[in-house]
């Protein structure tokens, strides 16, 4: 293992950028390219935003935890909230599916496309865990749609 960082913060919109920047800094310690890091930032932003918006439904007093592990192979990111949870995970992950008519339902699509693996665990009334990883690749030998 190269490094491990845990961040715990309140469900505020301001903290989305904070989590994004912290993970980007950490990813910079492995052999990711700048464009890899840009994509990892989008995935983190989506997972943390979902915790704020949907998990805690705008309440500012919920905890969100981001646990990042970095090793030679790449980065693993776990984003966890103790909010309302997801009733139907499969449906929630479908492109275009959103609980909010104003939103596009693209968050999970971005996480899936920009990372090399995404697992979602959730229980109603208990919360949600989003687990993502991305491998360091050599001159694009692993394409973005490899899961």
């Amino acid at each position: 293992m190269l490094n491990r960082v845990q961040l715990r913060f309140l469900s505020l919109a301001d903290n989305v950028g904070l989590a994004r920047i912290a993970v980007a800094q950490l990813a910079g310690q492995a052999r990711f390219t700048l464009s890899d890091i840009e994509e990892i930032k989008v995935a983190v932003s989506e997972a943390v935003s979902n915790a704020v918006i949907h998990g805690y439904q705008g309440r500012a007093d919920g905890w969100i935890q981001v646990d990042v592990t970095l090793d030679e192979a790449g980065i693993e990111i776990l984003v966890e909230d103790w909010g309302v949870g997801i009733a139907d995970i499969q449906k929630a992950r479908e492109p275009g599916h959103s609980a909010d008519p104003e939103r596009m339902g693209l968050g999970f699509v971005f996480m899936e496309s920009f990372m090399h693996g995404l697992e979602v665990e959730s229980a109603l009334g208990e919360g949600t865990r989003v687990h993502m990883r991305r491998f360091v690749t050599w001159s694009g030998e692993l394409s973005r749609d490899v899961q």
Binding site: A13, D14, V16, G17, R20, S35, E38, E39, K41, V42, S45, E46, S49, V52, I53, E102, R103, M104, L106, G107, V109, F110, S113, F114
Partner: protein, 115 residues
């Protein structure tokens, strides 16, 4: 995030500076809607040269303004789009409905003479 706008004969040019995410989505939506209403006959050009980051919350605002404008037979154009933002727009398929101009750094360089 800050925005600066200038009014032209056919369009309002809006230069946005900063990340477009959950934190900035609401103020951006409010400012753009105000401009759309105030200049009711003009198109909108969003200059994203100083926008290094966008996620689905930011995209939602852009797409929502696009919908509002097209309902009124007006258009929305994006300008100065950086590679990091373009990847996200493309993944969302937005590049096929909204006209996108790239930033200078994202443009292909002039072809070099072959050795």
């Amino acid at each position: 995030m800050t925005i600066i706008h200038s009014v032209h004969r056919q369009y309002v040019h809006v230069r946005i500076k900063g990340d477009l995410d959950l934190k900035t989505a609401e103020p951006l939506r409010d400012s753009l809607d105000q401009l759309i209403d105030r200049y009711g006959d003009k198109d909108l050009v969003l200059d994203l040269e100083d926008v290094p980051f966008i996620d689905s919350s930011g995209l939602g605002v852009v797409l929502g303004r696009y919908r509002r404008l097209t309902q009124q037979n007006r258009s929305l154009r994006l300008e100065g789009v950086r590679p990091s933002v373009k990847v996200v727009l493309e993944l969302a398929g937005i590049d096929s409905i909204i006209s996108i101009g790239e930033s200078p750094e994202g443009r292909p360089t002039t072809p070099q003479p072959q050795a």
